[in-house]
């Protein structure tokens, strides 16, 4: 608890006008990309990554976290107004938000979503500040075996919970680990898979991989199968009545926020699960004079939106404390830190405490700013849903190409971008999830270094060595459970069908 107050006292000292402007920019961009069906928070964060190359760490994280928080909320706008969730996690919000809009209560629904997002974000920010330092202090005592096992756990759970097939998810995670081996061996300096190319000696660059896998493949996919929004109603504004729910439905806000944080901490689970779980819990506590769930119940909107915003803080906890991304977007945030020369994980609390404080401050301030930004610019944001798809895709492609090139003005980066773009496009065709690949690539250096250290320390007797490491064994047991659960689930589903 003393650590919490120490960090809290230093929080806003790390925020200057540049960081605040970056945060506001990120929130605004995030709300728009979250609201636009077919774009989404992951693509928004990926496209912003090249721009962070020119920023200091806190400003960079302000932009990226702003987009993350903004987009988590932005999906609720299109879900409510046009009945198409801008993000998958807004699907639960749509269940009651859109019926409210159809009943002429669109302003109330959108305001509830905004309040829920803000309160969920603040709650998860407080939990983040309370828990992450304590967990990091424990993790700093971990040896290479424990660190490698946690990295493997992150990879296993992310793979198991992404897409329709756990095996494909694990395959992609290990593909990411393999791509991370391209370049010079970190221990011996031997060239691996470089084919004599000086460009590849430095390894695969993060930006062409990220931007290619997600942006270029998305542009190609949209040409094949465009996602189009329908007509948009413009009669929207803030609803004063919705603010009264902070007291009258406070228990729902609190319960949903806690649900979101707890789900967010679990690697790979994410906002969709949190929002539907929270919705289900709210259904159990339905007030008897409220409409039925699915017919415009305000508690449905509150539960879904509060939970999916609270996930954002929860997902940062394992990233900061254990170097495990809580969801694919956090994996990209980790990449953003790596670009800044900062290795994400518990050692940040020792070596880059100012950056950690900056992340905490940015997170809390972002959640608070979401309320005024979301309400004041509501009509403009909803108006953007009328933008033609061709304009959006042209903009995405342009930013992707120029952003990637501008980082090091290396034309080979553009070719690498296209290689990963085609890879992402083909993998999507084959129903292989891309998020585990990114997680594997980001975790690759951490996993390899610690795994090889463990083998060296154990002098080849890996099993005997691990038997003396109870935490590592415990984590490996979790890995085994995650694998077993993934294989058992489809069999049980078939039996009960």
């Amino acid at each position: 608890m003393a650590a919490f107050w120490d960090i809290f006292a230093g929080l806003f000292g790390s925020m200057g006008i540049g960081q605040i402007l970056s945060l506001i920019t990120g929130l605004s961009v995030g709300i728009v990309v979250g609201a636009l069906p077919g774009v989404g928070p992951l693509l928004g964060v990926v496209m912003a990554i090249p721009f962070t190359f020119y920023m200091d760490p806190v400003t960079a994280m302000a932009l990226l976290i702003g987009i993350y928080q903004g987009a988590s909320y932005g999906g609720a706008l299109s879900a409510t107004v046009i009945g198409i969730p801008g993000t998958p996690m807004a699907a639960a919000t749509m269940l009651d938000g859109h019926p409210m809009a159809l009943a002429g209560r669109a302003s109330e629904a959108v305001t509830l979503a905004t309040i829920g997002s803000a309160l969920g974000g603040v709650l998860s920010g407080i939990v983040l500040i309370l828990i992450a330092p304590e967990l990091a202090a424990i993790a700093l005592r971990f040896g290479p075996a424990e660190t490698a096992c946690f990295a493997l756990l992150g990879l296993t759970t992310m793979g198991a919970l992404s897409g329709n097939s756990a095996v494909k998810g694990w395959m992609m995670g290990f593909l990411g680990l393999f791509i991370a081996t391209i370049g010079l061996d970190p221990v011996t300096g031997v060239q691996r898979f470089t084919f004599g190319s000086v460009y590849l000696d430095g390894g695969i660059a993060l930006i062409p991989l990220l931007v290619g896998l997600f942006s270029i493949s998305e542009v190609m996919r949209q040409i094949e199968r465009p996602v189009r929004a329908s007509n948009v109603s413009m009669g929207l504004g803030a609803s004063g009545r919705a603010f009264g729910t902070i007291l009258s439905r406070g228990v729902n806000y609190l319960r949903s926020g806690i649900t979101g944080v707890l789900v967010g901490v679990l690697p790979g689970v994410g906002g969709v699960t949190a929002s539907f779980l929270s919705y289900r819990l709210a259904l159990m506590f339905k007030k008897h004079d409220d409409p039925e769930f699915g017919e415009g119940n305000p508690d449905g909107v509150i539960a879904a939106e509060t939970a999916n915003s609270a996930v954002t803080g929860g997902a940062l906890i394992p990233m900061l404390a254990l170097s495990i991304p809580g969801d694919p977007i956090v994996a990209v945030l980790m990449g953003g830190l790596v670009l800044q020369g900062i290795q994400p994980g518990p050692q940040m609390f020792l070596e880059h405490l100012g950056v950690v404080q900056g992340i905490f401050a940015v997170f809390i301030l972002g959640a608070l700013l979401l309320l005024p930004l979301g309400l004041v610019f509501l009509r403009g944001i909803v108006g953007m849903l009328r933008l033609p798809l061709w304009g959006i895709m042209a903009g995405v492609l342009m930013v992707s190409l120029v952003g990637t090139y501008a980082v090091s003005r290396e034309i080979l980066d553009l070719f690498a971008l296209l290689v990963f773009g085609m890879m992402g496009y083909l993998l999507r065709k084959g129903d292989y999830p891309l998020a585990p690949l990114v997680v594997g690539f980001v975790l690759g250096p951490i996993f390899e270094a610690n795994f090889r250290r463990t083998v060296l320390v154990s002098q080849g007797n890996l099993v005997e060595y691990l038997a003396t490491r109870p935490i590592a064994l415990g984590v490996l047991a979790l890995v085994a459970m995650a694998i077993l659960a993934a294989f058992l689930k489809p069999r049980r589903a078939r039996q009960t069908a």
Partner: protein, 162 residues
């Protein structure tokens, strides 16, 4: 039960790629003696990763080999013309990469944006061209003045104006 072809094709392609990667792994030139080649060596680690991928891939082949064939065609599956558009875009992007630096940012980006807009259904040419030009110029100004990054000047030195 009948097989589903596409997942099997992907899995078999992966198998081939993994085998090629394993061969390349065996060709990694070790600087020191083979004593390095325990589990901690520069060859062993990628070989283990590829071995795990092979196992997952075999499971995927088995799963797709025993899967039921879909009763009705997937309505979300796109036809060949739209896939051809995506491939055409990719081919144009490859060409773009070759000409980007020698020809210049503006002279390459504006036509590319117009093409992408057309492939995505834009048919109002004056609006499409105007939006493409505005987008390209806006990006140029942002990178030149906000991020202090010069984009390729090109044949006509148009970017020197900025």
């Amino acid at each position: 039960m009948q097989t589903t072809r596409q997942p099997l094709l992907f899995a078999l392609t992966f198998t081939l790629a993994i085998c090629v990667a394993l061969y390349l792994t065996s060709r990694i030139d070790l600087a020191f003696s083979s004593d390095l080649e325990t589990f901690s060596g520069p060859r062993a680690y990628p070989a283990m990763i590829l071995g795990a991928m092979l196992v997952f891939n075999v499971i995927t082949v088995l799963q797709s080999g025993f899967a039921r064939q879909d009763a009705a065609p997937d309505p979300a599956r796109t036809g060949l013309p739209r896939t051809g558009h995506a491939m055409a875009l990719f081919a144009v992007l490859v060409g773009f990469c070759f000409v980007f630096e020698p020809v210049g940012y503006l002279l390459t980006m504006i036509p590319l944006l117009i093409l992408v807009a057309w492939l995505n259904g834009a048919r109002n040419w004056p609006v499409t061209i105007l939006v493409s030009v505005v987008l390209a110029l806006t990006c140029l100004v942002i990178f030149r003045y906000a991020l202090d990054t010069v984009l390729p000047e090109g044949l006509l030195g148009i970017d020197a104006v900025f």
